[in-house]
Amino acid sequence: MGSIRLKQVSKSFGSVEVIPPLDLEINEGEFVVFVGPSGCGKSTLLRLIAGLEDVTTGTVEIDGQDATTIRPAKRGLAMVFQTYALYPHMSVRKNIAFPLKMAGLDKAQIDRKVDEAAETLNLTEYIDRRPGQLSGGQRQRVAIGRAIVREPKAFLFDEPLSNLDAALRVNMRLEISELHQSLETTMIYVTHDQVEAMTMADKIVVLRTGIIEQVGSPLDLYRNPANLFVAGFIGSPKMNFVEGPEARRYGAHTIGVRPEHLEVSRDGGLWQGTVGVAEHLGSDTFLHVTVAGIGNLTVRAPGEVGVRYGDEISVTAPKERIYRFDKDGRAIQ
């Protein structure tokens, strides 16, 4: 239960094609993250799977059955929205019970399931409050509770953490991952935050302007990006790109080096440059180095690197850590 397959699915709004025909397979129990910059069509894709938008062409299969024309309520999927979308006039209990009530369960069963969900999500204390009396994190938990009581075939998350503050986001990220471990249900998660994608996903789908750029495990995308876009999007800080004669020396149009793969020394390295801003994060220091003939490079150095603004340093990229791209931006193997 819980496999989803998109076959030649496309979506147009009027004459604007936001998603050209694409194929995608999501296996049972997988945690799949759709990631990409805003406006890349990731939310639209999720809504097509949910049935909240109709596909323009193609088919959506859920558990091997064509669900293209089935209405959202009957697809057996649950969704958690960015704005939580709780029912403001209902208590937490009634919010969580709503899908069960709609499914026609009897009261005793509903109560038992709601209590279970509330306990799993630490909501028992707040069960009689209204959403307006809860904090952002608690509201998001209620939204998740409302999704899990239905025991859906798959969970759909539409940027569920972007309204939370940074510390809470890290906590909730962990909670959602733990939920996935314990429920073993398929989850599809939309985010623009590549850190969320990297830390949570079994499989990442990188989207740009409605086109799937690459599909793979987080480490696969990190190690073998298919093109410049994926190389630049996955990894933080962003990969450094160098064009021109320096790239041609490596037989490429563009070369890329991740900041964490650059080695800093006082002298004798590959490229000589001047340190601009040094950002101290404690554990790491991000150095912004200007190298003549190459441009600006970001270097991720250890926290105690002892380099200051204006220092002349030498930066080296190990040959095996250099990514090469052709003039269309595709990776050269």
Binding site: A50, P72, A73, M79, T83, A85, L86, Y87, P88, M102
Partner: protein, 276 residues
């Protein structure tokens, strides 16, 4: 200095507001005062403001001559009936226009509003004939139907504005949670729109209560509401100002009281969305 200017300005605005308020209220006040006068005092020149012999005899006589409670009950049935029927039609209509708008939605809304700009007298004869042939003349059912249709554009417009304020994601969540269209409207949309629906209801009850063109033209005795009750005292011959005033006061009192108690709700409802 700044404070003095503010105070003076405040005094001027307060005075102006009271002036305008009294000006608007004056005809109603005069009607109420006149209803306690004798017919002779009512037409006295110069007019008597408070220094007259207060009497209740007009009220007694009006109740004797025509049955106030029958008219009152007709008014209640017609105004509440048409408002409830209107809401029943308008809630789903406004839902569809607010949440699944089509290319023509705006035009449909404008077209509905344009029907309110038509002089009703233009369609009086066809409607009168239809009512005569279908046996709806002088029936409460007939008036409920006609007033529902007359006020429907306003009800739909008001609800449309309130529904627009409700985030679509909440309705989508209901859809994902397995709610059918009716469950979505009944359990999610309507409870969330209660303030808006309440003020729409109040305003339309008032409009229907005060409606005097159709109620006068389509009724005779059986279904005649309070508007017809007042009209029966405005005769071209004879001077019955005091009795006319007593009848008017009795007719407007219920709605005036209702309006008074619900004015907070009305104002809130009418400015909903505008002051956010």
């Amino acid at each position: 200095m700044a404070r003095a200017v503010t105070n003076r300005r405040k005094a001027v605005t307060t005075l102006a507001a009271w002036g305008v308020g009294l000006l608007i209220f004056f005809p109603i006040l005069w009607t109420i005062l006149t209803s306690f006068k004798t017919e002779a005092d009512a037409i006295a020149s110069p007019p008597l403001f408070l220094g007259f012999d207060w009497t209740l005899e007009n009220y007694g006589e009006v109740q004797e001559r025509s049955n106030y409670f029958r008219h009152f009950w007709n008014s209640v049935v017609i105004s509440f009936g048409s408002t409830f029927l209107g809401l029943l039609i308008a809630i789903p209509s406004a839902w569809s226009m607010a949440f699944v708008p089509g290319k023509q939605t705006k035009n449909v809304l404008m077209w509905m509003l344009s029907t309110k700009m038509l002089p009703p007298v233009g369609v009086l004869i066809p409607i009168y004939l239809i009512f005569r042939d279908t046996g709806l003349l002088d029936t409460r059912a007939g008036l409920v139907i006609v007033l529902t249709l007359i006020n429907l554009p306003i009800i739909i417009w008001m609800l449309f504005t309130y529904f627009k304020e409700i985030p679509g994601e909440i309705l989508e969540a209901a859809r994902m949670d397995g709610a059918t269209l009716w469950a979505e409207i009944l359990h999610v949309l309507t409870p969330m729109a209660v303030p808006g629906i309440a003020s729409t209801l109040l305003l339309n009850v008032i409009l229907a209560w005060n409606e005097a063109f159709w109620t006068l033209n389509l009724t005779a005795a059986e279904a005649a509401p309070l508007t017809a009750f007042i009209a029966s005292y405005s005769s071209p011959e004879g001077l019955f100002y005091a009795k006319l005033s007593a009848a008017s006061t009795m007719a407007i009192a219920p709605i005036l009281i209702m309006g008074w108690f619900s004015q907070k709700q009305l104002v809130r409802g009418l400015t909903f969305g505008a002051v956010k």
